[in-house]
Amino acid sequence: MFPILRALNADLVPRLFIISRALTTEAAVSNHTPDELLLTLATPDEDLKMATQFQIYLTKITPILFVWIVTYFSGIPHSFEIFIATPIVLIGLLGIYAVYSVIAGVLRFRNCEEAKVELIREIDEARADLKRRNVKLD
Protein backbone atom coordinates (compact mmCIF):
# COMPACT_ATOMS: atom_id res chain seq x y z
CA MET A 1 0.00 0.00 0.00
CA PHE A 2 2.76 2.40 0.92
CA PRO A 3 4.51 2.32 -2.46
CA ILE A 4 1.23 3.25 -4.10
CA LEU A 5 0.63 6.11 -1.69
CA ARG A 6 4.18 7.28 -2.19
CA ALA A 7 3.79 7.19 -5.94
CA LEU A 8 0.55 9.12 -5.68
CA ASN A 9 2.06 11.64 -3.33
CA ALA A 10 5.15 12.08 -5.37
CA ASP A 11 3.57 12.49 -8.71
CA LEU A 12 -0.14 12.71 -9.26
CA VAL A 13 -1.33 14.76 -6.32
CA PRO A 14 1.25 17.55 -6.52
CA ARG A 15 0.72 17.60 -10.25
CA LEU A 16 -3.01 18.20 -9.73
CA PHE A 17 -2.30 20.70 -7.01
CA ILE A 18 0.11 22.65 -9.16
CA ILE A 19 -2.15 22.46 -12.20
CA SER A 20 -5.21 23.70 -10.31
CA ARG A 21 -3.26 26.51 -8.66
CA ALA A 22 -1.64 27.47 -11.93
CA LEU A 23 -4.91 27.48 -13.80
CA THR A 24 -6.68 29.73 -11.35
CA THR A 25 -3.89 32.26 -11.00
CA GLU A 26 -2.46 32.13 -14.52
CA ALA A 27 -5.85 32.32 -16.19
CA ALA A 28 -6.59 35.35 -14.15
CA VAL A 29 -3.39 37.17 -15.06
CA SER A 30 -2.61 35.93 -18.54
CA ASN A 31 -4.33 35.95 -21.87
CA HIS A 32 -4.18 32.20 -22.27
CA THR A 33 -7.21 30.01 -22.08
CA PRO A 34 -7.21 27.18 -19.54
CA ASP A 35 -6.81 24.70 -22.41
CA GLU A 36 -3.58 26.32 -23.55
CA LEU A 37 -2.25 26.32 -20.01
CA LEU A 38 -3.14 22.65 -19.60
CA LEU A 39 -1.15 21.87 -22.74
CA THR A 40 1.93 23.59 -21.42
CA LEU A 41 1.61 21.84 -18.10
CA ALA A 42 1.01 18.44 -19.68
CA THR A 43 4.57 18.29 -20.92
CA PRO A 44 6.76 16.36 -18.53
CA ASP A 45 8.65 18.60 -16.19
CA GLU A 46 11.43 17.59 -13.81
CA ASP A 47 10.17 20.02 -11.21
CA LEU A 48 6.81 18.33 -10.87
CA LYS A 49 8.29 15.08 -9.69
CA MET A 50 8.84 16.10 -6.09
CA ALA A 51 6.47 17.85 -3.74
CA THR A 52 7.29 19.99 -0.76
CA GLN A 53 6.69 18.46 2.63
CA PHE A 54 3.86 20.95 3.07
CA GLN A 55 2.05 19.59 0.02
CA ILE A 56 2.50 16.03 1.20
CA TYR A 57 1.02 16.99 4.55
CA LEU A 58 -1.98 18.53 2.80
CA THR A 59 -2.67 15.28 0.99
CA LYS A 60 -2.71 13.48 4.31
CA ILE A 61 -4.71 16.03 6.28
CA THR A 62 -7.41 16.56 3.63
CA PRO A 63 -8.93 13.06 3.78
CA ILE A 64 -8.99 13.24 7.58
CA LEU A 65 -10.78 16.60 7.36
CA PHE A 66 -13.15 15.10 4.84
CA VAL A 67 -14.00 12.15 7.10
CA TRP A 68 -14.46 14.49 10.02
CA ILE A 69 -16.90 16.76 8.19
CA VAL A 70 -18.86 13.84 6.76
CA THR A 71 -19.21 12.39 10.25
CA TYR A 72 -20.85 15.57 11.44
CA PHE A 73 -23.46 15.49 8.73
CA SER A 74 -24.10 11.78 9.02
CA GLY A 75 -26.76 10.25 11.19
CA ILE A 76 -24.41 9.24 14.00
CA PRO A 77 -25.61 10.94 17.17
CA HIS A 78 -23.07 13.28 18.73
CA SER A 79 -22.98 16.72 20.22
CA PHE A 80 -21.89 19.90 18.48
CA GLU A 81 -19.46 20.71 21.27
CA ILE A 82 -17.49 17.52 20.78
CA PHE A 83 -17.38 18.16 17.05
CA ILE A 84 -15.75 21.52 17.57
CA ALA A 85 -13.57 20.51 20.50
CA THR A 86 -11.95 17.41 18.98
CA PRO A 87 -9.65 19.06 16.45
CA ILE A 88 -8.70 21.82 18.88
CA VAL A 89 -7.79 19.28 21.54
CA LEU A 90 -5.81 17.22 19.04
CA ILE A 91 -3.85 20.24 17.86
CA GLY A 92 -3.25 21.22 21.45
CA LEU A 93 -1.87 17.78 22.24
CA LEU A 94 0.33 17.99 19.14
CA GLY A 95 1.66 21.34 20.35
CA ILE A 96 2.41 20.00 23.79
CA TYR A 97 4.24 17.04 22.29
CA ALA A 98 6.31 19.32 20.08
CA VAL A 99 7.29 21.54 23.02
CA TYR A 100 8.09 18.48 25.12
CA SER A 101 10.35 17.01 22.47
CA VAL A 102 12.27 20.26 22.03
CA ILE A 103 12.77 20.62 25.80
CA ALA A 104 13.77 16.98 26.10
CA GLY A 105 16.31 17.54 23.36
CA VAL A 106 17.85 20.45 25.18
CA LEU A 107 17.98 18.50 28.45
CA ARG A 108 19.53 15.48 26.80
CA PHE A 109 22.28 17.60 25.35
CA ARG A 110 25.42 15.96 26.55
CA ASN A 111 27.35 17.64 29.30
CA CYS A 112 30.58 18.56 27.62
CA GLU A 113 32.48 19.36 30.79
CA GLU A 114 34.82 16.37 30.57
CA ALA A 115 35.40 17.02 26.90
CA LYS A 116 36.35 20.60 27.64
CA VAL A 117 38.90 19.57 30.30
CA GLU A 118 40.44 16.99 27.99
CA LEU A 119 40.60 19.49 25.15
CA ILE A 120 42.45 22.04 27.27
CA ARG A 121 44.97 19.38 28.23
CA GLU A 122 45.43 18.40 24.59
CA ILE A 123 45.91 22.02 23.58
CA ASP A 124 48.80 22.36 26.04
CA GLU A 125 50.28 19.09 24.83
CA ALA A 126 49.97 20.20 21.21
CA ARG A 127 51.57 23.58 21.79
CA ALA A 128 54.50 21.99 23.61
CA ASP A 129 55.03 19.44 20.88
CA LEU A 130 54.77 21.96 18.09
CA LYS A 131 57.27 24.27 19.81
CA ARG A 132 59.67 21.36 19.95
CA ARG A 133 59.22 20.85 16.25
CA ASN A 134 60.11 24.50 15.58
CA VAL A 135 56.65 25.70 14.61
CA LYS A 136 56.31 29.27 15.78
CA LEU A 137 53.05 29.81 17.68
CA ASP A 138 51.90 33.04 19.27
Partner: protein, 233 residues
Protein backbone atom coordinates in the same frame (compact mmCIF):
# COMPACT_ATOMS: atom_id res chain seq x y z
CA UNK B 1 42.13 -1.52 4.41
CA UNK B 2 45.26 0.47 3.63
CA UNK B 3 45.00 3.66 1.65
CA UNK B 4 45.23 3.92 -2.08
CA UNK B 5 48.89 4.17 -3.08
CA UNK B 6 48.01 6.73 -5.69
CA UNK B 7 46.67 9.17 -3.12
CA UNK B 8 44.83 9.54 0.16
CA UNK B 9 41.47 7.92 0.68
CA UNK B 10 40.00 10.64 2.91
CA UNK B 11 40.09 14.37 2.19
CA UNK B 12 39.39 16.64 5.14
CA UNK B 13 38.25 20.07 4.01
CA UNK B 14 38.87 22.79 6.59
CA UNK B 15 37.42 26.22 5.84
CA UNK B 16 39.25 28.81 7.92
CA UNK B 17 38.88 32.45 8.77
CA UNK B 18 41.11 33.95 11.46
CA UNK B 19 42.08 30.64 12.98
CA UNK B 20 45.76 31.24 13.56
CA UNK B 21 45.52 29.94 17.13
CA UNK B 22 43.24 26.97 16.56
CA UNK B 23 44.56 25.72 13.23
CA UNK B 24 47.87 24.29 14.49
CA UNK B 25 46.10 22.48 17.34
CA UNK B 26 43.47 21.16 14.96
CA UNK B 27 46.04 19.79 12.53
CA UNK B 28 48.10 18.34 15.38
CA UNK B 29 45.00 16.55 16.69
CA UNK B 30 44.09 15.26 13.24
CA UNK B 31 47.57 13.83 12.86
CA UNK B 32 47.50 12.31 16.34
CA UNK B 33 44.09 10.69 15.87
CA UNK B 34 44.66 9.38 12.35
CA UNK B 35 48.28 8.30 12.76
CA UNK B 36 47.73 4.77 14.00
CA UNK B 37 44.52 4.00 12.18
CA UNK B 38 46.01 3.07 8.82
CA UNK B 39 43.60 5.39 7.01
CA UNK B 40 45.33 7.65 4.51
CA UNK B 41 44.20 11.26 4.58
CA UNK B 42 44.92 14.78 3.45
CA UNK B 43 43.80 18.11 4.85
CA UNK B 44 42.77 20.88 2.46
CA UNK B 45 42.73 24.29 4.14
CA UNK B 46 40.47 26.79 2.40
CA UNK B 47 41.36 30.14 3.90
CA UNK B 48 39.30 33.21 3.03
CA UNK B 49 42.14 35.75 3.14
CA UNK B 50 42.37 35.82 6.92
CA UNK B 51 44.00 39.04 8.11
CA UNK B 52 45.45 37.45 11.25
CA UNK B 53 48.17 35.39 9.58
CA UNK B 54 46.36 32.06 9.38
CA UNK B 55 48.03 31.32 6.05
CA UNK B 56 51.51 31.95 7.46
CA UNK B 57 51.02 29.43 10.24
CA UNK B 58 49.49 27.05 7.70
CA UNK B 59 52.65 27.25 5.59
CA UNK B 60 54.77 26.47 8.63
CA UNK B 61 52.63 23.46 9.38
CA UNK B 62 52.92 22.27 5.78
CA UNK B 63 56.70 22.39 6.17
CA UNK B 64 56.44 20.34 9.34
CA UNK B 65 53.76 17.79 8.42
CA UNK B 66 54.49 17.49 4.73
CA UNK B 67 52.94 18.70 1.49
CA UNK B 68 51.22 15.36 0.95
CA UNK B 69 49.27 15.70 4.18
CA UNK B 70 48.38 19.39 4.27
CA UNK B 71 47.39 21.52 1.31
CA UNK B 72 46.63 25.23 1.43
CA UNK B 73 44.19 26.59 -1.13
CA UNK B 74 43.46 30.22 -0.24
CA UNK B 75 40.75 32.48 -1.64
CA UNK B 76 40.65 36.22 -2.13
CA UNK B 77 37.96 37.04 0.38
CA UNK B 78 35.18 35.83 2.64
CA UNK B 79 33.10 33.96 0.12
CA UNK B 80 30.92 31.65 2.16
CA UNK B 81 30.86 28.07 3.34
CA UNK B 82 29.24 26.32 0.38
CA UNK B 83 31.71 27.79 -2.10
CA UNK B 84 34.55 26.96 0.30
CA UNK B 85 33.52 23.31 0.16
CA UNK B 86 33.31 23.43 -3.64
CA UNK B 87 36.72 25.08 -3.86
CA UNK B 88 38.26 22.47 -1.58
CA UNK B 89 36.66 19.59 -3.44
CA UNK B 90 38.35 20.65 -6.67
CA UNK B 91 41.67 19.61 -5.15
CA UNK B 92 40.50 16.66 -3.10
CA UNK B 93 42.13 13.39 -4.10
CA UNK B 94 40.18 11.13 -1.77
CA UNK B 95 36.96 9.28 -2.47
CA UNK B 96 35.53 10.55 0.79
CA UNK B 97 35.23 14.13 2.01
CA UNK B 98 35.16 15.04 5.68
CA UNK B 99 33.82 18.47 6.54
CA UNK B 100 34.58 19.99 9.92
CA UNK B 101 35.27 23.28 11.67
CA UNK B 102 38.81 24.39 12.45
CA UNK B 103 37.95 26.11 15.72
CA UNK B 104 38.29 22.92 17.85
CA UNK B 105 34.54 22.63 18.42
CA UNK B 106 34.80 19.49 16.30
CA UNK B 107 37.31 17.06 17.75
CA UNK B 108 39.22 15.00 15.17
CA UNK B 109 39.06 11.95 17.44
CA UNK B 110 35.61 11.22 16.00
CA UNK B 111 36.90 10.95 12.44
CA UNK B 112 38.14 7.32 12.79
CA UNK B 113 34.76 6.42 14.34
CA UNK B 114 32.96 7.95 11.38
CA UNK B 115 35.17 6.07 8.95
CA UNK B 116 34.60 2.78 10.77
CA UNK B 117 30.82 3.25 10.76
CA UNK B 118 30.82 4.16 7.09
CA UNK B 119 32.68 0.97 6.21
CA UNK B 120 30.26 -1.16 8.21
CA UNK B 121 27.32 -0.66 5.89
CA UNK B 122 28.80 1.46 3.12
CA UNK B 123 26.84 4.52 4.20
CA UNK B 124 26.60 7.45 1.84
CA UNK B 125 26.86 9.99 4.64
CA UNK B 126 27.99 9.87 8.26
CA UNK B 127 26.95 12.76 10.42
CA UNK B 128 28.20 13.66 13.86
CA UNK B 129 25.31 14.31 16.14
CA UNK B 130 25.35 16.32 19.33
CA UNK B 131 21.98 14.91 20.29
CA UNK B 132 23.19 11.45 21.17
CA UNK B 133 20.32 9.14 21.82
CA UNK B 134 20.80 7.12 24.94
CA UNK B 135 17.71 5.49 26.30
CA UNK B 136 14.15 6.08 25.25
CA UNK B 137 14.76 5.43 21.59
CA UNK B 138 11.13 4.78 20.73
CA UNK B 139 10.04 8.29 21.65
CA UNK B 140 12.90 9.75 19.67
CA UNK B 141 11.97 7.82 16.55
CA UNK B 142 8.53 9.37 16.69
CA UNK B 143 9.96 12.83 17.14
CA UNK B 144 12.36 12.48 14.27
CA UNK B 145 9.64 11.30 11.93
CA UNK B 146 7.36 14.04 13.04
CA UNK B 147 7.95 17.31 11.23
CA UNK B 148 10.43 16.83 8.44
CA UNK B 149 11.21 13.10 8.39
CA UNK B 150 14.88 13.92 8.02
CA UNK B 151 16.18 10.77 9.66
CA UNK B 152 18.99 12.57 11.44
CA UNK B 153 18.78 13.89 14.94
CA UNK B 154 21.15 16.81 14.43
CA UNK B 155 20.20 18.75 11.35
CA UNK B 156 22.38 21.77 11.95
CA UNK B 157 25.61 19.90 12.53
CA UNK B 158 28.53 20.46 10.19
CA UNK B 159 30.86 17.64 11.19
CA UNK B 160 30.19 15.05 8.49
CA UNK B 161 31.72 12.45 6.23
CA UNK B 162 30.42 12.17 2.68
CA UNK B 163 31.14 10.13 -0.37
CA UNK B 164 32.66 12.61 -2.78
CA UNK B 165 30.11 12.46 -5.61
CA UNK B 166 27.22 12.59 -3.17
CA UNK B 167 28.54 15.76 -1.54
CA UNK B 168 29.02 17.34 -4.96
CA UNK B 169 25.42 16.54 -5.87
CA UNK B 170 24.00 17.89 -2.61
CA UNK B 171 25.99 21.14 -2.78
CA UNK B 172 24.89 21.77 -6.35
CA UNK B 173 21.24 21.38 -5.36
CA UNK B 174 21.17 23.40 -2.15
CA UNK B 175 20.37 27.09 -2.29
CA UNK B 176 20.33 28.29 1.32
CA UNK B 177 23.06 30.14 3.10
CA UNK B 178 24.69 29.72 6.46
CA UNK B 179 23.86 26.75 8.60
CA UNK B 180 20.40 26.33 7.04
CA UNK B 181 22.53 25.17 4.09
CA UNK B 182 23.70 22.26 6.27
CA UNK B 183 20.11 21.41 7.11
CA UNK B 184 19.06 21.63 3.51
CA UNK B 185 21.81 19.25 2.41
CA UNK B 186 20.69 16.68 4.98
CA UNK B 187 17.09 17.10 4.00
CA UNK B 188 17.83 16.65 0.31
CA UNK B 189 20.03 13.67 1.12
CA UNK B 190 17.12 12.04 2.87
CA UNK B 191 14.81 12.84 -0.03
CA UNK B 192 17.25 11.19 -2.41
CA UNK B 193 17.24 8.11 -0.23
CA UNK B 194 20.93 8.27 0.66
CA UNK B 195 21.91 6.15 3.64
CA UNK B 196 22.95 8.18 6.65
CA UNK B 197 24.72 6.94 9.75
CA UNK B 198 25.26 8.85 12.99
CA UNK B 199 28.17 9.08 15.36
CA UNK B 200 27.60 10.81 18.71
CA UNK B 201 30.07 13.66 19.17
CA UNK B 202 30.89 16.13 21.89
CA UNK B 203 30.94 19.74 20.88
CA UNK B 204 32.97 22.10 23.01
CA UNK B 205 32.92 25.84 22.88
CA UNK B 206 36.25 26.55 24.58
CA UNK B 207 35.66 30.10 25.56
CA UNK B 208 32.39 29.69 27.37
CA UNK B 209 32.87 26.10 28.39
CA UNK B 210 29.36 25.07 27.48
CA UNK B 211 27.61 23.59 24.53
CA UNK B 212 26.67 25.99 21.80
CA UNK B 213 23.01 25.20 22.15
CA UNK B 214 21.05 28.10 23.53
CA UNK B 215 17.64 29.63 23.17
CA UNK B 216 18.78 31.49 20.07
CA UNK B 217 19.87 28.35 18.30
CA UNK B 218 16.62 26.60 19.14
CA UNK B 219 14.64 29.46 17.62
CA UNK B 220 16.83 29.60 14.51
CA UNK B 221 16.57 25.82 14.18
CA UNK B 222 12.77 26.04 14.33
CA UNK B 223 12.77 28.81 11.74
CA UNK B 224 15.01 26.75 9.47
CA UNK B 225 12.75 23.72 9.86
CA UNK B 226 9.68 25.72 8.89
CA UNK B 227 11.47 27.19 5.87
CA UNK B 228 12.42 23.73 4.66
CA UNK B 229 8.96 22.37 5.40
CA UNK B 230 7.24 24.91 3.20
CA UNK B 231 9.67 25.51 0.40
CA UNK B 232 12.02 22.65 -0.39
CA UNK B 233 10.76 20.19 -2.95
Amino acid sequence: MPGNRRGPEYSIILPTYNEKDNLPICLWLIEKCMKDTGYSYEVIIVDDASPDGTQDIAKQLIKEFGEEKIILKPREGKLGLGTAYIHGMKFARGNFIILMDADLSHHPKFIPEMIRLQKQKNYDIITGTRYSLGGGVVGWDLRRKFLLQPGVSDLTGSFRLYKKDILAKLISESVSKGYVFQMEMMFRAKKHGFTIGEVPITFVDRFFGESKLGAQEVISYAKGLLYLFFTVS
